[in-house]
Symmetry: C2
Subunit: 490 residues, 2 copies
């Protein structure tokens, strides 16, 4: 009994030391994060390919400097993958920490209050593209690892880091890398922080993600741009045909009209629905977060349900014709739209792509030609809320934030979660640190600095919580204290 | 009798001398036109404001150099108006020659085979933005004036020149100028060359033009751009709302659905319809000109009828969201469309604007806000085909091209035609020299050089034909020879 107590005490002392290190280093941690956000690592835009590369190199050097080992930067067909590990916690489980160092494009640039890649602190927030999604969240874990390694002399569990540069463009090259690096990445559980909390003091663990599918639709008409006076009314206009086709994608009930689209949508249980109503964001909160006047969508569902457990189709961009100042009387020869599906279990991106293609071919007017291109697909994912690592994460949140987390389903997509399940056979714990008003993907993205500091403490606690509960060194009392998640019967 | 014969002979000799001057100067005329086309006088784009100004100054110097008098460059709120005259043909009528030196924007730039403002001759054509619309056509008249003034010592009629720099943006400042300069511009008839022939050897006089109205529609949704994963399905998307609104503007019968839109559309007579079928472009020709696979539009009408005597509504540009490479999962806060109406007698742009606004307000979904902006309006115009100046023009074409012109209605708009009717009380003769494949407003615009040379000869002949037929110096035989237009009973 004495040995058990002293080892538990040692673990607790190590955590205390790591927390103290983090507290003492807060200013330096922030200035390092600012350096990280300064890289314009926009994965979608070819002109930023070098910036993405430089960001990966910086990240690799940083991993080395905080005491991680076997740091590698692996080139892919597009953007490199950065890995590192620390495997000296003999007999302990291994955590795979995933994050992405690439960011979304910045347009509309004119709506940023400060330049997106010149990060600046205003009030309690750090503003900059990627500050929250995902550099800030990823960095909280790195600073937790550093606090353990340098403040307490080691990690309580084994850790593998995997940071990619293509998350915002669909993680195209990651699946192949995972297959090839299966042995190096061997782990018991993955952790990702790339999801949202409900508020600065309302932590959340995400147990469901929507899948995604990005498509491009192109409509071609006349062989050249035409004068709309000389031909208007007699030659079909690709812009009009595009609008009419896009308008047919939703019915008057605001449901997607593609035949078969809802066939595989899984109904959620009464229990889960009740849990979502009790703990998830209210309609009012969603509308406020969106700065919208009112909600929209499928009837008979809350806004949170529409976002989290129902699929959606959004138009993300329209192009074609003249968009400069003034007018240009033109019937353009082509028009394009960018579209994004969000999918829920058991929809499959490949099948949805086929249904969409068939529908577009069916409704295309005879006077134009239509091309459909798929850009990236990711499967939806749901993690069993009863998994012990979710319970460990819940205890860690209580230590870091002083508040119990709720279980959430997110409307977003993290393609790697289903890949981890399929390639590595491990579940992923989604410990999000983004706030609803962080403006992810929008102008003036920001990261809440009190959350940054609490996230570091939560990550430190999580690493210690993951140390095997079945270990003879952990007391029965501690095992019983396993945090009871509210409504965990979902 | 002898005096009559000799004076007629003198007139004929003058015309012969002018034609000889034009023939001898052909190479110089072309190199001057190239210099004219080189100015990027794009009126719609603020960054070209100085280019428009420099082009006006060059044109003014050119008018001076060929012997025109009282040359002025009058600034307006936007682009200057260039005027000149020659009023030494005592007792003869006065012709107002109108043209525009501004040009359309050049996008899509990537589709030009040679830079739009580096004009180049390939085969029988001069390629460059504005080569045909309207610099080349305007220039043919200037070279005719020069040929008379320098080759024959004077003009057979009085001439006033009026060249504006805002035709492509709706001639916004011209109406006010016309009112103020009514006395200086006093004339018996106006002539404009800014319309089309049916082919290089198939001249045409245009007697009808559609009116125009340019509108901008803006749809606003959430206060900021949103992540389409985190909000897709629960917050309305301005791009989707825009597409759905635009899709409602045409019915399944391809007619415009705005209530009241067709109320004032004048039906054409059986005679005119028959004339149009006999002399106008066939469906096949329209489709070929458009490089389209097939026609489109209101049922029960030829394509030429749809273009010329029926109104149309075209979408000229769509904007909003992400349009760069790859994907961006965004619900943008706003989306815009540029629209262009073409109107026929007796539709009124102001009334159509009101009908459109009311319809947009009516169909706007409740979850978005809608703004409508009108950019420019012009009334439709029809000129009596029996007007003596039209007959004079027909004789001139026969002299210049060796072929009789047909009478056409155009789907295009020349705002100044209705202004001339209202402000100056004079009809306009539309002697177009553009070919159907000149790619007006499109990439690779060009002007056919044999047409340029024949247009100069036609203009010389027209000036001589306009010399009063009721003059005692013109023989009765000549009066009787008045060219009988085919099917001029329309």
């Amino acid at each position: 009994m004495e040995g058990e107590m002293s080892l538990t005490a040692t673990k607790s002392q190590a955590q205390t030391k790591a927390r103290a290190f983090a507290t003492a280093s807060a200013d330096r941690f922030l200035s390092e994060l600012i350096r990280f956000v300064r890289f314009p690592s926009v994965s979608a835009q070819p002109q930023h390919a070098d910036d993405v590369k430089r960001c990966a190199a910086w990240l690799a050097r940083h991993l080395q400097s905080i005491g991680l080992e076997n740091v590698t930067v692996t080139p892919t067909a597009r953007h490199p993958i950065v890995c590192a590990n620390w495997r000296h916690a003999r007999g302990q489980p291994t955590v795979l920490l995933y994050g992405h160092y690439d960011v979304q494009p910045v347009d509309p640039l004119s709506e940023w209050r400060s330049p997106p890649f010149d990060p600046v602190v205003r009030g309690e927030n750090l503003f900059g593209r990627g500050a929250s999604d995902d550099k800030g969240q990823l960095f909280a874990h790195l600073k937790a690892l550093e606090s353990c390694l340098r403040g307490a002399g080691g990690l309580p569990v084994n850790v593998v880091c995997l940071f990619e540069g293509e998350e915002e463009i669909g993680s195209t090259n990651l699946a192949r890398f995972l297959t090839g690096a299966r042995d190096d990445l061997a782990a018991d559980v993955a952790v990702i922080s790339d999801t949202r909390m409900l508020g600065a003091n309302r932590p959340a663990i995400t147990y469901g993600l929507r899948g995604a599918l990005s498509m491009e639709l192109e409509v071609r008409g006349p062989g050249t741009d035409l004068h709309s006076g000389n031909f208007g009314g007699a030659i079909h206009n690709p812009l009009q045909a595009l609008c009419e086709m896009l308008a047919e994608l939703h019915g008057a009930d605001q449901r997607v009209t593609i035949p078969g689209f809802y066939d595989r949508v899984r109904n959620i249980s009464r229990n889960e629905r009740a849990y979502m109503a009790r703990h998830g964001p209210s309609d009012r909160e969603v509308i406020e977060d969106a700065q919208a006047g009112k909600g929209w969508g499928e009837p008979g569902l809350t806004l949170y349900e529409r976002i989290a457990v129902r699929p959606a189709l959004t138009i993300n961009g329209l192009g074609g014709g003249y968009q400069g100042p003034g007018a240009k009387a033109v019937i353009p020869s082509r028009a394009t739209a960018k579209l994004n599906f969000r999918l829920v279990p058991d929809q499959d991106p490949k099948e949805i792509e086929q249904l969409f293609r068939a529908f577009m071919v069916k409704i295309a007017p005879p006077a134009v030609r239509v091309a459909v291109r798929a850009q990236a697909g990711a499967k939806p994912a749901v993690i069993d809320p009863k998994h012990p690592a979710i319970r460990a994460a819940a205890r860690a949140y209580r230590a870091g934030f002083g508040a119990s987390p709720v279980l959430l389903r997110s409307g977003g997509t993290i393609p790697v979660v289903s890949m981890f399940q399929e390639s590595l056979g491990i579940p992923t714990i989604l410990m999000g640190f983004a706030l609803p008003d962080d403006s992810l993907h929008g102008p003036n993205e920001k990261f809440h600095l009190p959350v940054f500091r609490k996230a570091i403490r939560t990550s430190i606690a999580f690493l210690h919580e993951l140390a095997r509960p079945e270990s003879p060194f952990v007391s029965a009392a501690n095992r019983m204290a396993a945090f009871a998640l509210p409504g965990a019967d979902i």
